[in-house]
């Protein structure tokens, strides 16, 4: 099986909000709605530390849906609008089925669900949907038919949240926040594959889940914030000749497996699920 997860390396997160703004664009989020927020862990306001000068500290915590294995939101949804997809573990909301009761919002321990109270308002002057164009239906047959998991035309009175960019993942493309994070702090991949980068990174990076004591078992992981190297690392003498150039950066980068932005996804890494089955009224859920 595939189980998609996300890992955020807080030791590289600059708190720039690019992932948050990128999320807004790709998913045409109405004004005031943020599926992905970058929180400051520190002082009372964004970008401020705790402590007394100069003994202060701060880090950032980007927060989107944790895609829990044991998702409280799924349990409380009376109409199965919120559901966990079997093929890859994404927690999705069916816009057509959501009745706006907001039980899921109360149940979510991470506060990542948002609600459109009124008619959604979009960017001033932008009279067309931005980002992903068109509706997207869940192609996983086990989800049931006609699951509207993305629509740029956002209904009023419906809960919405991060879907790991299901509309991109279903065509083999990583979530947009992963693509745009300027520091490479975000990783996406298959947690069920023990050799995937995300799996090895979760293991080697001492990655943690949020609120583990709740037993939600999120598919979202975090590498802890940066710890300053407090040992004086630099010793030794200047070499006599400073005119010897260091090795070419590409060689150096290759040595450490550095930038290989890899514009071609390796074959077989992601198998897009089969196209959605034809509509069959007889098996449609009764909650819509």
């Amino acid at each position: 099986m595939t189980k998609y997860g996300m890992l955020i390396d807080l030791s590289r997160c600059v708190g720039c909000q690019s992932c948050a703004v990128g999320c807004k664009v790709e998913n045409n989020e109405p004004l005031g709605i943020w599926w992905n927020r970058v929180l400051t862990v520190g002082g009372d306001e964004i970008d401020t530390p705790s402590g007394d000068f100069p003994d202060v500290q701060m880090h950032y915590l980007p927060l989107n849906c944790q895609h829990c294995e044991n998702a409280p939101c799924v349990k409380v949804c009376p109409v199965q609008a919120t559901y966990k997809r079997e093929s890859d573990g994404l927690v999705l909301v069916d816009y057509d089925r959501c009745i706006g009761c907001r039980y899921c919002m109360a149940a979510c321990p991470y506060g990542v669900r948002t609600f459109n109270w009124g008619t959604p308002q979009y960017s001033p002057g932008v009279d067309f949907p931005v980002g992903h164009q068109g509706d997207h239906f869940d192609p996983d047959p086990t989800s049931g038919p006609n699951r509207l998991v993305y629509t740029p035309d956002r209904p009023k009175g419906v809960v919405e949240k991060c879907s790991y960019c299901v509309q991109r993942v279903d065509s083999g493309v990583e979530p947009f926040c992963i693509q745009v994070c300027p520091t490479g702090a975000r990783i996406f991949g298959d947690l069920d594959d023990p050799s995937s980068i995300i799996s090895t990174s979760v293991r080697d990076g001492n990655a943690q889940q949020l609120l583990p004591e709740l037993g939600t078992n999120p598919q979202q992981f975090f590498i802890p914030p940066y710890i300053q190297k407090d040992v004086v690392p630099i010793t030794g003498n200047s070499s006599p000749s400073n005119l010897v150039p260091s090795p070419d950066i590409i060689a150096a980068a290759e040595e450490v497996g550095g930038y290989i932005p890899g514009f071609k996804p390796p074959a077989g890494e992601i198998v897009p699920p089969p196209p959605p089955p034809a509509l069959d009224q007889s098996t449609a859920g009764d909650g819509a």
């Binding site: 807080l10 590289r12 600059v14 720039c16 909000q17 690019s18 948050a20 703004v21 990128g22 004004l31 862990v41 306001e45 970008d47 401020t48 530390p49 000068f53 100069p54 500290q57 880090h59 960017s123 001033p124 002057g125 932008v126 067309f128 949907p129 931005v130 980002g131 164009q133 493309v173 992963i178 693509q179 520091t183 490479g184 702090a185 990783i187 996406f188 090895t200 990174s201 990076g205 943690q208 583990p212 975090f222 914030p225 940066y226 710890i227 300053q228 690392p233 630099i234 003498n237 400073n242 150039p245 260091s246 070419d248 950066i249 980068a253 497996g257 550095g258 932005p261 996804p265 890494e269």
Partner: protein
């Protein structure tokens, strides 16, 4: 012990807060360096296309962000039904330079389709600045401009017309090196410098040109070769955000990152060491380090002897270098004398087999002399780490250790911010002190070393700039922006009567807003081209709507080594036009139309024709982005081009002596041949004004806009709704100020109102207001408090004049 609190224990009710649970010890800092490439390869879209790709409904274009953050990111624009629906990061087609973007680039479509865009030409009908306008046609607007300019030129001379520099667009034919200069040249008007020094950046380039002959910086990827990176006054994680990736990659592979900034910022939390320094005293820190390095004999003697002016004898009478002609009748005036300890005599520096002395004092032909290095040692003798500590507020032991580590790092790279270093009255001296520090350790011109502010190609690309901006050798009269007000108000250096501000929010951004406004009000005629009704456009007589960079064709040579093609993606919105078109219309009506009657492609090709590689526009168009070929760097004339790009790689310096000149002869009249330390001109406790205004006001750069641009984009405003002043709890308490209070910030030049953000990340005695906001002009305009004090010593370098010392400012704050 960990300095961090546990971060994953979170109180459910207050999700934003960490709990007070005891420290998470033994957390391993984990390097992602080795995974980056593979991570990216898991799931990524097909390679960005350089040509428009026709899909069923979508077309994508590769462009670049011609923005004055200097990031020059590659952007991919997706167009559906003629609308740009998305901007994302585009490839550079090179393995070592990943796609890059930030929140500002991602927000661009809110800029393109902003309802407040200027839609048609307008003429002022009420009093200047009253906000009363009448719509006119392009023909009417350009006829009025041409008539006014012609009349003013005949009355006062064409140089009394000033064309301001473009800082709102870093592109070539419609931007920073754009048609404003060409227009000014053909009509004989004045124009500003490329730096567009409304941002005060020119002190750093001035210092670099004085000492090294060039302001060129290292390519970003070269940071991976450093064993220590010093982010000196450079809040990289908030300003050039994508550049921070390289620092983090270096850090995660073992490089120590030291960050010098009065404030605690996101860059502090990601660095190994954060040194909070008293604002404006960076030069003293560098001299303290030089002191430790010289007294500990940690400097690179061989390098100092062979590649700097260290051994050159300096006459004690004239303070100039002792030249051969001074000691030998008929001797050369371009040969410098050194004292050779082998022959125990003064010889020219190019004599073979000598051992020049760096120290001592000598009498040569009756002239008392000392090697420049001795003079530097004499200067820094007073800046022991203890003395530097008293000035900077950094503990002496920290300075000593920092100096020792810096010297041992071999190499260490200094990345200096424009803002942090350059926005001080003596910013040029500070920059020179940094270069001197680096040079003593032999880090100039080597991989992983250097002092870098601008890591771009623009400075060094051999494009045919002269034929573009000064056609037929017609040239504009150079007038630096900081001299604009003097010219208008006092006729100094000559009267200026009319001005055109193209994509330059001068009124908001120049120091001393009140003075700027009086100069603007004193103009006979003023034109502004912009996308929005900015504070500058508000004062114009004619306002012209400009097409955004996505609505016109251009090329971008910016803050990296790449040349990017900027296609016209959509038609100009409303009645907006390209800069080239509007300057052309006015030029034609002034009888100079022949200089503007070619196509954008022709002018781009003209610029490219200077490149020795023969790169054509067609090639650039088909590839979208190309890395500058080695021979296309102007400096390839005297050095091999390395990758990553390293300036001065051959240890040749375009200075008068060909060496690193930490002793600058042309600054002898200013008593600044050495990089001396001076207290800030205003923001110093030694200034009597400090009794009245005891807070130093710095005006940093925020991630939520670039100078004044993107200030009004809804997404960024949701994240950053209101302007504020950052103040330490101690300073706030002393004034009865609470977080969120409306406060008045004031000094003798002006008063503004803003909100208090009380934060322990702010250094006591210092306050910060992010510059560039114009939401509440003039009530919240921070430059009401800054000044236009001109530093004449910065004018010895041609084309760089005095900066605006934006940070060198004292204020006080009170509850409103």
């Amino acid at each position: 012990m960990s300095r961090r609190k546990s971060w994953f224990q979170i109180d459910r009710r207050g999700f934003l807060k960490v709990s007070g649970v005891a420290g998470l010890s033994a957390v391993v800092a984990y390097s992602l360096l080795s995974q980056n490439g593979i991570i990216k390869s898991i799931l990524v879209p097909a390679a960005a296309q350089t040509q428009p790709q026709q899909g069923a409904t979508e077309t994508t274009y590769r462009t670049g962000h011609a923005n004055n953050c200097d990031g020059s990111c590659g952007l991919e624009a997706t167009v559906v039904n003629g609308n740009i629906v998305m901007f994302s990061n585009a490839t550079f087609n090179e393995p070592d330079f990943p796609p890059r973007i930030c929140l500002r680039g991602l927000s661009q479509l809110q800029y393109v389709y902003h309802p407040d865009r200027l839609k048609y030409p307008m003429q002022r009908v009420g009093a200047r600045g009253s906000g009363q306008w009448q719509q006119i046609t392009w023909d009417q607007a350009t006829t009025t401009i041409a008539n006014q300019f012609t009349q003013i030129a005949s009355q006062y001379g064409a140089q009394s017309i000033y064309i301001a520099p473009y800082t709102g667009n870093l592109a070539a034919i419609n931007g920073l090196i754009g048609p404003g200069y060409r227009f000014a040249s053909v009509i004989g008007a004045s124009a500003g410098d490329f730096e567009g020094d409304n941002e005060g950046d020119s002190a750093s380039p001035t210092g670099a040109v004085e000492e090294l002959g060039s302001f060129d910086g290292h390519e970003l990827t070269d940071l991976l070769n450093a064993r220590m990176i010093v982010l000196w006054g450079n809040n990289l994680g908030e300003t050039d955000i994508p550049d921070m990736r390289f620092v983090l990659d270096a850090r995660d592979s073992g490089t120590k990152v030291v960050y010098i900034d009065p404030r605690y910022t996101t860059t502090s939390q990601l660095s190994d060491q954060w040194l909070s320094i008293r604002p404006g005293t960076d030069g003293a820190l560098a001299l303290g380090m030089i002191n430790a390095i010289i007294s500990g004999s940690l400097f690179n003697q061989n390098y100092v002897t062979n590649y700097t002016v260290g051994p050159f004898l300096v006459r004690q009478d004239t303070n100039l270098f002792l030249r051969e002609k001074d000691v030998v009748p008929g001797g050369s005036s371009s040969k410098y004398m050194v004292f050779d300890t082998t022959s125990n005599s003064a010889v020219t520096s190019d004599t073979a087999g000598i051992t020049p002395s760096l120290t001592g004092s000598y009498t040569v032909a009756g002239i008392a002399c000392k090697p420049a290095f001795q003079l530097l040692s004499d200067l820094v003798a007073q800046y022991t780490p203890g003395a530097a500590s008293a000035i900077t507020g950094i503990p002496a032991s920290t300075i000593q250790t920092f100096a020792e580590e810096f010297a041992a790092a071999n190499p260490a790279a200094i990345k200096a911010g424009f803002g942090g270093i350059s926005h001080w009255y003596y910013g040029d001296l500070t920059y020179r002190a940094l270069i001197t520090l680096s040079a003593l350790c032999g880090y100039i011109g080597v991989h992983g070393g250097g002092v870098t502010t601008y890591n771009g190609a623009l400075l060094d690309a051999a494009i045919d700039l002269p034929d573009w901006i000064t056609p037929d050798k017609k040239s504009y009269q150079y007038l630096p922006p900081i001299s604009f007000c003097d010219a208008v108000l006092n006729g100094n250096p000559y009267p200026v009567k009319a001005a055109w501000f193209p994509c330059d929010n001068f009124v908001n951004q120049q120091g001393d807003t009140n003075r700027t406004i009086s100069a603007i009000q004193a103009l006979d005629f003023m034109v502004a081209t912009d996308v929005f009704m900015t504070p500058t456009a508000q004062y114009a007589d004619i306002v012209l709507p400009v097409a955004t960079q996505y609505e016109k064709e251009d090329i971008l040579l910016g803050g990296n080594m790449y040349l990017q093609y900027l296609p016209q993606i959509i038609q100009p919105m409303w009645e907006s036009k390209s800069d080239l078109d509007m300057f052309g219309m006015v030029a034609e009506k002034m009888g100079q139309g022949s200089y503007f009657n070619q196509t954008p492609d022709d002018y781009i090709s003209l610029l490219l024709s200077g490149l020795p590689s023969g790169l054509t526009l067609d090639t650039l168009k088909s590839q979208g982005v190309v890395r500058l070929a080695d021979e296309d760097f102007a400096s390839s004339a005297y050095q091999p081009i390395t990758r990553p790009y390293v300036p001065f790689f051959q240890q040749n310096f375009p200075t008068p002596s060909g060496r690193i000149e930490f002793y600058v002869e042309s600054l002898v009249p200013y008593n600044m041949p050495l990089p001396i330390y001076n207290e800030p001109i205003e923001a110093s406790p030694s200034n009597p004004l400090y009794q009245k205004y005891p807070l130093v006001l710095i005006t940093s750069h925020t991630k939520f806009r670039t100078h004044t641009q993107w200030n009004n984009l809804a997404w960024l405003r949701e994240l950053n709704p209101k302007q504020f002043i950052e103040i330490n709890p101690q300073d706030a308490a002393a004034r009865g100020i609470n977080d969120g209070d409306t406060v008045t910030v004031f000094n003798d030049r002006g008063t503004i109102q803003t909100l208090a953000r009380v934060t322990s990340g702010m250094r006591p005695g210092t306050v910060n207001i992010y510059q560039g906001d114009w939401q509440e002009f003039p009530k919240g305009t921070v430059n009401m408090l800054t000044h236009q004090k001109i530093n004449p010593a910065q004018s010895v370098v041609f084309l760089f004049q005095s900066n605006t010392a934006y940070f060198d400012v004292l204020v006080d704050v009170k509850k409103s």
